[in-house]
Amino acid sequence: MTTQDLTKFCTQVRRDIINMTADAESGHPGGSLSAVELMSAAFCTQMRVNPKNPHDPDRDRFVLSKGHACPCYYAVLGELGFFPKEEFHTFRQLHSMLQGHPDAKKVPGVDASTGSLGQGMSIAVGMALGAKSQGKDTKVFAMCGDGESQEGQIWEAFMAAAHYKLDNLTVLFDNNGLQIDGSNDQVMSLGDLAAKLRAFGLDVIELSDGNNIEAVVRALETPATAGKPRCILGHTVKGKGVSFMENQAGWHGKAPNEEQRRQALAELEGK
């Protein structure tokens, strides 16, 4: 995909996020919008997956540890053809495959059930370790958030990733700086994230703008250091792309109403 194609893809994913959450009158638009470039770039430029054969044992894996950002995940998978986009309208509705948080039993392309924060990273480590121990060249991409990293289990997982030298694991760190009750710094400061991640043995590529698609792609194309898990630490904007949602903690878990949907889509249309 060219940069232009990727930009278009990301804009469409943002539209899908707005429509999905507005249709459902529920969901998490803020942390979905911040994650768009990191996730889209991984799926569109890095991952070996086949939407027509989502359970191919030799596919690369993706784990959305910050599972509440699933509108972004579903949008990416739907745009790539893992399931019909009509499913978007069923998000969070009874009997839908698109549960409020990702369900591996239900959604083609979802490799782990996540949403209870902190757990996905351990699952991703297990996948990467399982691949390595069998001599498979599977790559594992796992996205976590900053708020989520207040969970101790995230750091248990990073510690193990470094210990087992999982250079087939890429952590996509969506650092939008906000969580439900406010900023990370107000609620529970994470301090120097890059230093912490490096201290835990990860090879860190820090992006001052994690919503810059070219920068994200370049980071993903940087060859992994042998024997080290890598982390793309993207400083992102919660609610990115929708003016009234940007940098507002209040848009963590609130859906746009019809008027807000129209305004958001109009803004995205202009891009």
Partner: protein, 308 residues
């Protein structure tokens, strides 16, 4: 029943044996491999053994991830930490997606002994049984443990295997083992005694004591708590009219409640649960602790006699 072997020891031996037959089997532990006996597997198959350190949440999560790569993870630590501390990881990372992880937890029950109440899991069966789709097995002796381990490797989906620290009697007989199928070890007509794990041997001894006093007790080994053998439970409750359950676990949520769930509204019978009565365990030599909680054969016989 001359020989005594702890079910955790039989587990370690069975893993090493299974590992040679099935190269998809991997074993994970959280720095307790000498106690859980997974070290026996680690010695033979170092490349398929993963010690994740003292991090039980991560232990369960990594096991979940490995299962998605076509492996069969046997995930072990103490019951307190695997079923207790990492409960939500078991529930959400393993059971919710129905991943093929075998949670084999040792040092369950008050027979842990000296380590005391903080380490004696008397809630694990309740915690595991309530999770949808979870198979829950409590082997009664070393032979049954070996059979259970092999059966778990053959079945698909999450399972909990409850193992003990204490060396316990090995039965002379070699009964067939099928997940979900209870074994009638002794027939009787006055009372049906449903037991699991370490309490099966005690229940058999108790039945002998009762027999000497003219009471005919059937003893049924309910090694699978979930899915429970409803037909067998109902049949013996009907036949004997009086039911006792015996477990080294809280009387809340474990075998007793599983048996009650089968009988409620279906079979009219007397019903009594023997177990740890809504209290924590404590330090002491295992036989002393078991006695403190009324879980020895003479005490069980006495309780049954009083309840008839």
């Amino acid at each position: 029943m001359a020989e005594k072997i702890a079910t955790r020891v039989a587990y370690g031996d069975a893993l090493a044996e299974l590992g040679a037959k099935n190269d998809k089997v991997v074993v994970l532990d959280a720095d307790l491999s000498c106690s859980t006996q997974t070290a026996r597997f680690a010695k033979v198959f170092p490349d398929r053994f993963f010690n994740v350190g003292i991090a039980e949440a991560n232990l369960v999560g990594i096991s979940a991830g490995m299962s998605t790569m076509g492996l069969i993870p046997f995930c072990s630590t103490f019951a307190m930490f695997g079923a207790g501390r990492a409960y939500e990881q078991v529930r959400n990372s393993v059971a919710y997606p129905h991943f093929n992880v075998k949670l084999c937890m040792t040092h369950a029950g008050v027979s842990v002994g000296e380590d005391g109440g903080s380490h004696q899991s008397i809630e694990d069966l309740a915690l595991m049984r309530v999770i949808p789709g979870m198979t829950v097995i409590v082997p009664a002796d070393a032979n049954e443990t070996r059979k259970a381990v092999f059966a778990l490797a053959e079945m698909d989906g999450p399972a909990y295997l409850r193992l003990g620290r204490l060396a316990s009697p090995v039965f002379d007989n070699d009964l067939p083992f099928e997940i979900g199928k209870a074994n009638v070890l002794r027939d009787g007509k006055d009372v049906a005694v449903f037991a699991c794990g370490l309490m099966v041997a005690e229940a058999l001894e108790a039945a002998k004591i009762l027999e000497a006093e003219g009471i005919s007790a059937a003893v049924i080994n309910v090694h699978t708590i979930k899915p429970i053998d409803s037909a067998c439970v109902a049949e013996y409750a009907q036949k004997c009219g009086k039911v006792f359950t015996v477990e080294e676990h809280s009387v809340i949520g474990g075998l007793g409640d599983a048996v009650a769930d089968v009988l409620i509204g279906k079979v009219a019978c007397g019903f009594h649960k023997i177990g740890v009565n809504d209290q924590f365990g404590q330090s002491g030599k295992a036989p002393e602790v078991l006695k403190e909680y009324g879980l020895t054969a003479p005490q069980i016989a006495e309780t049954i006699k009083a309840g008839l």
